[in-house]
Amino acid sequence: MPKIRDLFNQLKQQNKKAFIPYLTYGFPNLGVFEQTVLAIAKTGVDAIEIGMPFSDPIADGPVIQRSSQIALEKGATLPGLLLTLKKLRRKVDAPFILMTYYNPVFYMGDNSFCRKAKGIIDALVVPDLLPEEGRSLNDHCRKYGIDTVFFIAPTTDLGRYGLIDKNSSGFIYYVSVTGTTGSRNKFDGALYKKIAAAKAKVKGPVCVGFGISTHEQVKRFCRVADGVIVGSAIIKFIDENHKQKNFIDKLQRFIVDLKGKEK
């Protein structure tokens, strides 16, 4: 069984929820990126989501846009990402979830991409791919043992939950806000009920992401979902601190504070 479902089954048995940090590949540069992955892996996160930078990231807010632009200027490419993760794979146990817009994958070819990503990437998230358009990529992912993740948004109507569930072999990514990535002070009050309702309707695990930036928010969402994804808050922290001494220690503390200590 692929690694991602295994992970959620294990967590469920232990009555735990997944904490998944997001990092932009190649940000703030290729070298520091590798160090951040290793540092974060040591804090005991359940999986690491790695974002492939794209020139036109329409689902991302200013923080991830900026990190993507910087990473591209530093020479981030999709083949480069696969090489780097292949190397890191030997030192990191946590599953790698790749987030990429569709064009870089499409350019490489669905089959060719999946063949190269096999054994490196455990799951794939494509924010501009609906399940209806993702059939070919989904088939190739299955063939090479890569889990797929599709989204439920606040605007998704109930009629599509089945389709999204069926196509998401890893987990379902519940988008917490109608909007782009980036921290929010407040969430819609009805959101927690909506997530609980979604969980009741689908078979696969549900993780919540977009806008989550504090430990309180992490705790709150973990009560209703199977896990949370934190992105922009971490990127912002890296952006502001990577030139400082003890950056790695600080980053690890920041991650531990976000996810909370093991009970």
Binding site: I58, P104, Y107
Partner: protein, 392 residues
């Protein structure tokens, strides 16, 4: 075969490549469009505003002097005479009537040169709707008069600072706004690009160009033209001209892209590769890792690294031929029309004129050619002056 199919595909091009958040909005838009656009009251209202407000029908003018020089029979479809100075108003009117029926009170748009932004600001003023236009910061500097026009019309122009600060980034930013404010907002896309149903909807609203042309040329020449020529950025004036002639196999379509300074250009169909940009699959200018490249042309309206999926389909089935014309050649077309016909064309349209002049020796003498003069050139005078000063 129905084009596009229910999933918005023209052959293998088109589709809906968007975040899940927009899935519902696009379905809502498609069903509203296919419902209202068939209704008699919608058609009547659209026809009324096209005639009384925009100034249709536009003349199909026989360019006698140009014809004589080229050894062809050349007609110009005068979209440049429309209110706001370009064909963009056709689509803006069509979509704003749809927006009103959908009950949305806030309208957003992207703009490059500002022509589409001005058209949207115009129709929003007309119908009392809130209007916000995204425009790359670089484009705002290059097209300052149009920024002021939009503001006079009551629109808010929002500078886009991300990426290359041009049209493609304005598009991305407008999509992000729509993802955020999807329930109350209508996104009025200006060309035959974007996710389904935009490419088909914009093409339909612009088809008035080709339908009028067909009736006019039959009356004047008692036959169909041999060639239709139009410039292609996103592709709306060209598809508006071509589409009504799709089944008239004797009519050849000539699409003209911007070849810029050759090193940098906007020739997605001639020089790009199939990819996904702003919600649809089509030809895209991109590097060897699938990152979108910056487009360039002296004409801001052709300065886009993608192109409408229906054009990609026409290219694939060889229904249209596509050429690329350089800045320098386009300026040649610009001058020739100024001097021979007393018409100052938009630099976009000048590309189509230039291509016809280039082809003149190679095609049959006295062939009947219609050129879509998509806009007027007043907006470009500064650019032309600057170019001529720097290339002396």
């Amino acid at each position: 075969m129905k084009l596009p199919n229910n999933r918005g595909y023209f052959g293998k091009f088109g589709g809906k490549f968007v975040p899940e958040t927009l899935e519902y909005a696009l379905r809502e838009l498609a069903s509203a469009y296919f419902k209202y656009s068939k209704e008699k009251s919608f058609k009547q209202e659209f026809a009324y505003y096209l005639k009384e407000y925009a100034g249709r029908p536009t003349p199909l003018y026989y360019a006698a002097n140009l014809s004589k020089m080229a050894g062809l029979r050349i007609y110009l479809k005068r979209e440049d005479l429309l209110h706001t100075g370009a064909h963009k108003i056709n689509n803006a009117l069509g979509q704003i009537l749809l927006c009103r029926r959908m009950g949305k009170r806030r309208v957003i748009a992207e703009t490059g040169a500002g022509q589409h932004g001005v058209a949207v600001a115009t129709v929003c003023a007309l119908f009392g709707l809130q209007c916000e236009v995204y425009m790359g910061k670089l484009d705002m500097e290059r097209q300052a008069p149009n920024v002021y026009r939009m503001e006079l019309l009551g629109a808010k122009v929002i500078p886009v600072l991300s990426g290359t600060q041009t049209l493609k980034d304005a598009c991305s930013e407008a999509l992000r706004d729509w993802v955020t404010n999807v329930n109350a907002t209508y996104y009025l896309i200006g060309s035959t690009v974007g996710p389904h149903p935009y490419p088909v909807m914009v093409r339909d609203f612009q088809s008035i160009i080709g339908r009028e042309t067909k009736a006019q040329i039959k009356k004047k020449e008692n036959r169909l033209p041999d060639y239709l020529a139009a410039c292609v950025g996103g592709g709306s004036n060209s598809l508006g001209m071509f589409y009504p002639f799709f089944h008239d196999k004797s009519v050849k379509f000539i699409g003209v892209e911007a070849y810029g300074n050759i090193k940098q250009h906007g020739a997605s169909l001639c020089k790009g590769r199939v990819g996904i940009l702003h919600g649809s699959k089509s030809f895209v200018l991109q590097d060897k890792f699938g990152q979108i490249e910056e487009a360039y042309s002296i004409s801001a309206g052709l300065d886009y690294p993608g192109v409408g999926p229906e054009h990609a389909y026409y290219k694939a089935i060889k229904r249209a031929q596509y050429f690329a014309v350089t800045d320098k050649e386009a300026l040649g077309g610009f001058k020739v029309l100024c001097e021979l016909e007393g018409i100052i064309p938009a630099l976009e349209s000048s590309h189509a004129v230039a291509q016809v002049m280039k082809m003149a020796g190679d095609i049959k003498k006295n062939s009947l050619v219609v050129v879509c003069l998509s806009g007027r050139g007043d907006k470009d005078l500064d650019n032309v002056m600057n170019y001529q000063n720097s290339h002396k």
